[in-house]
Amino acid sequence: MNNPLLRKLANFTQLSEDESNAVNECSQDVREFAAGEDVISQGDRTGGVKLLLDGFACRYKVLEDGRRQIVAYFVPGDLCDLRVFILKRMDHSIGAVVASKVATISPENILMLTHTYPTLTRALWWSTLVEEAIAREWLVNVGQRDALERTAHLFCELLYRFRAVGLNQGNSCTLPLTQVELAETLGLSSVHVNRTLQELRRRNLITLEGGTLTIQDLDELKELSFFNPDYLHLDYGNDKPRGEEREGN
């Protein structure tokens, strides 16, 4: 199962071979993007649905004076809005943070998949709901949590999301973000981000080197940020997140 979308959906349900094959066949139109390149820009015609196969991407908006807010991250297996083709033009941009591979699933294929495969359709609905739940947490993050909490919460979330598609190495995962990008994500000044990372390191909770995040004490980091992974809904057939089983393998 090389398609990370299939690995992700396996957190919700067991798809049939037919369904898995159909998803694979629809993900053949692949393009590579360089770090910093837009996969699609605000104002562009929407076209097909983007599926991140490899790399790391973000959804962002830019204000007229250049200030930028990152409103979502995409890890491999994430769809950049399943129903986006209903709209004419993009109201935000999606950018590759590092070199990334992105498949475009045409609107016709999305409609075909959802007409033909009910279980797959429910799994896709699930992934959409999880995306919305993540967006709600991010809103709570910038609205209520302090700098340490928001940063810690984001790091916990990313580890769980990478785990869910089997792309963690123990408690490490890729985090190819600059402090400026973290600031644009967390709604903090870069001074504040810098100070916060320093504090997390000082407490021996994380290391962040060469684009890799290692969480040294996950329980402590979760407690610090009141992180409860329930909103990621990774609980199919098991109370533990699927990644935790994989980790033992």
Binding site: L148, L188, V191, R195
Partner: protein
Amino acid sequence: MTLSELADSAESRHRTRRLLSMVRLITGHVTAHGADAQDSELHLAGRVGAVGRAAAAPMAGGTDLELLVLDELLAQGVQRAPTVLTGPEIRLNAKSAELMRLVLHELVTNAIKFGALSQSQSQLRVIWWMIGPASSRLHFEWAEDGVRAAAETGRHAGFGSHVLKRLIASELHGSGDMQFLAKGVLCIIEIPSGEALIQDE
């Protein structure tokens, strides 16, 4: 229970007591000075929020002073960084961090309403350093500058000054002073490092 857990739970009982007495102080102040009900409620909610942040802050290892300043600005949605924010790395112990948080909350609130954070041309310098023989005291300054008509507004010695003068003296054996100058607030705090700081391990 291990010794360190025992110490931890004693420490957290102390903290609970300290924070509750802070809440008592805050509510007492509102009922004694509450002219406008809505205004009082806003202030009360803001101060209780600061106590809540103090309660949620990790106790072990202390609190970084610069991070505390940044956090209290952020908590009230201040996007603008202070013009100057600088000082040596200082780790406050739980008790001094709680009081400093409350003081900073008052300073930020005040600055948003009338001071340096309410006008684009004004400046805010937050600086600190160690003074005295063997760096025995922490000297902390919050200095606003270039605030227009600062002295004519309804700023008065309120809850913030009370915390500053009374509590810094009684709880930390330090001194605090807040002056409402024509160009903005000047707040100076000095606390003995033995009472307030965690020495690096």
